[in-house]
């Protein structure tokens, strides 16, 4: 079980959280103006890296807030977590 550092609550066990998929996926500004391929990219295409991954989590059984997380998908080690309005670390 992962020990996830919520930016507001500190380290808590994984089962207090809900995984939210890849972070920083931008919704097209004007959905009606994009073609089917671009819309499919937004709906269905996600990064699936073997390595460093930026992802969303939500502390559903805690503060209820969303945040972002950088995790290595091979070791499952969490590099850092940060608040939704913050830029991802380089």
């Amino acid at each position: 079980m992962l020990l996830i550092p919520c930016p507001w609550c500190g380290k808590r066990p994984e089962n207090e959280f809900r995984y939210g998929g890849q972070a920083h996926v931008a919704r097209p500004e004007d959905p009606a103006s994009v073609d089917d391929e671009a819309w499919a990219v937004y709906l269905f295409l996600r990064d699936n890296p073997k390595g460093r991954h930026a992802e969303r989590w939500r502390h559903i059984h805690g503060c209820g807030r969303f945040f972002n997380c950088i995790r290595d998908t091979v070791s499952d080690r969490i590099e850092t977590t940060y608040k939704p309005n913050e830029a991802p670390p380089a």
């Binding site: 992962l2 998929g21 391929e37 998908t73 499952d76």
Partner: protein, 418 residues
């Protein structure tokens, strides 16, 4: 095929005195070029190679794998076979596989231990009852055997099952596919490897692909591997959880996410479990291997990962469910648990067919339930590679469906909650 390696009562008698069995397949080293390269020596990849040679006469084929043959999800799954999916496209696909399972041991001259002992999917609440009855009716319209059992009938079919009302999720009934069952997963890989090797196909292990080469026109020209460059005009990627990594080498993103999926086995005991039981709602599935171990399938982790391990709490939750459904199993000890990396698609159906890169074919996205499809998957993928267009059964499972919206939603039929 070398006559000494053909299995029969006579070969069995000949070896009864202790003479060692010969190697069942050649451990090949790569040539510089092949007609077709299959990346991934799991069940699906080996089956593809076998059918390329057997059905289409294409024997200049290499199956290459970064590890050992059958060492990925083929050797890590819980071996359940069934075809009672909801959508007509899926029914055609999985039933095609089931029909091949029924004659596979004879076709390969290798006992894959296919056992049609019945797959019982339990309903624990009103919603389950409605969904499974819908499945039963849809399957009957499609000519697929699937029948509704009451809780008492389920108990009669599977005596160790607890159907009392005093548990959190009581058994309200179940859907039973009698032709469903299990097979020996390793034997499936070994049987296809042996048969493919005998037909002249090179199986190359411990040879990871590090790049996919393309010509000036964008078409595939070969692959770079740990054992050097191998040229081929047609490359089929059958790499399960690592498909995204390989597609990235060809400059493509794929609608796949990789998750660890776990399974575990108990200490071996005498026969106690006559069939396969699956439960989506409490999330557990269980059968008994011929060695006597109870084979238990757990869920995927919540997050994407290539760890091949998974969190222990996932297995523990499944064991809690097993103990509630089968109180007599509570004192059994678990021998070992493990994880595999499964590639899931947004609609929980596989992607089989062409890619935007000419000459590059893909067979992926089987998610948590690919073992059951192994023979059918290999059969239609070989046909797709040979013709350069999707086999009719594979056609609905194209990559295009995510752009045009013709999704094949099997989230309810996939036994694992994602």
């Amino acid at each position: 095929m070398d006559s000494r390696s053909s299995f029969s009562i006579f070969s069995l008698l000949a070896h009864a005195g202790g003479r060692a069995w010969d190697r069942q397949w050649r451990d090949a080293q790569p040539k510089s070029a092949y007609d077709v390269i299959i990346v991934g020596a799991g069940g699906h990849g080996l089956a593809t190679a076998y059918y390329l040679a057997r059905e289409h006469g294409i024997r200049d084929v290499a199956v290459i794998d970064k590890g050992w043959l059958g060492g990925g999800n083929t050797g890590r799954n819980t071996t359940i076979i069934r075809s009672n999916y909801l959508q007509p496209e899926s029914v055609a696909l999985y039933e095609h596989a089931l029909k091949l399972w029924e004659g596979l041991s004879q076709a390969l001259n290798y006992n894959v231990m296919y056992s049609a002992r019945g797959v019982l999917m339990l309903a624990h609440n009103h919603h389950d009852v409605q969904v499974f009855k819908r499945h039963v009716h849809a399957n009957r319209l499609a000519g697929i055997d699937n029948e509704w059992l009451t809780a008492e009938q389920a108990k009669a079919f599977c005596p160790p099952l607890e159907i009392g009302p005093h548990v959190r999720y009581p058994v309200l009934g179940g859907a039973l596919q009698r032709r469903g069952g299990v097979a020996r997963h390793d034997a499936v890989a070994w049987g296809y490897a042996r048969a493919a090797s005998a037909l002249g196909i090179d199986i190359i292990q411990n040879c990871a692909v590090t790049a996919i080469h393309r010509g000036p026109d964008g078409a595939v020209t070969g692959v770079e591997t740990e054992k050097g460059r191998i040229d081929a005009r047609r490359v089929g990627v059958v790499a399960a959880g690592h498909t995204s990594v390989l597609m990235g080498m060809a400059g493509m993103r794929f609608p796949l996410e990789s998750f660890p999926l776990q399974a575990l086995v108990s200490e071996p005991v005498k026969p106690v479990m006559p069939c396969v039981v699956m439960s989506n709602t409490v999330h557990a599935y269980i059968s008994q291997s011929d060695k006597g171990e109870l084979v238990i399938g757990a869920g995927t982790d919540a997050y994407t990962s290539y760890s091949q391990i998974g969190g222990l709490h996932i297995s523990c939750e499944t064991l809690a469910a097993i103990c509630e459904m089968f109180p007599s199993f509570r004192r059994l000890r678990m021998l070992r648990n493990w994880g595999g990396v499964v590639d899931t698609t947004p609609d929980r159906s596989p992607i089989i067919g062409l890619t935007p890169v000419p000459g590059l074919f893909v067979n992926c996205g089987w998610g948590t339930g690919g073992f059951k499809a192994t023979p059918g998957s290999g059969h239609i993928f070989a046909d797709t590679i040979v013709r350069g267009q999707p086999h009719p059964i594979a056609a609905p499972f194209s990559l295009d469906r995510f752009a045009d919206g013709r999704l094949i939603d099997e989230a309810a039929a996939a036994a694992v909650a994602h």
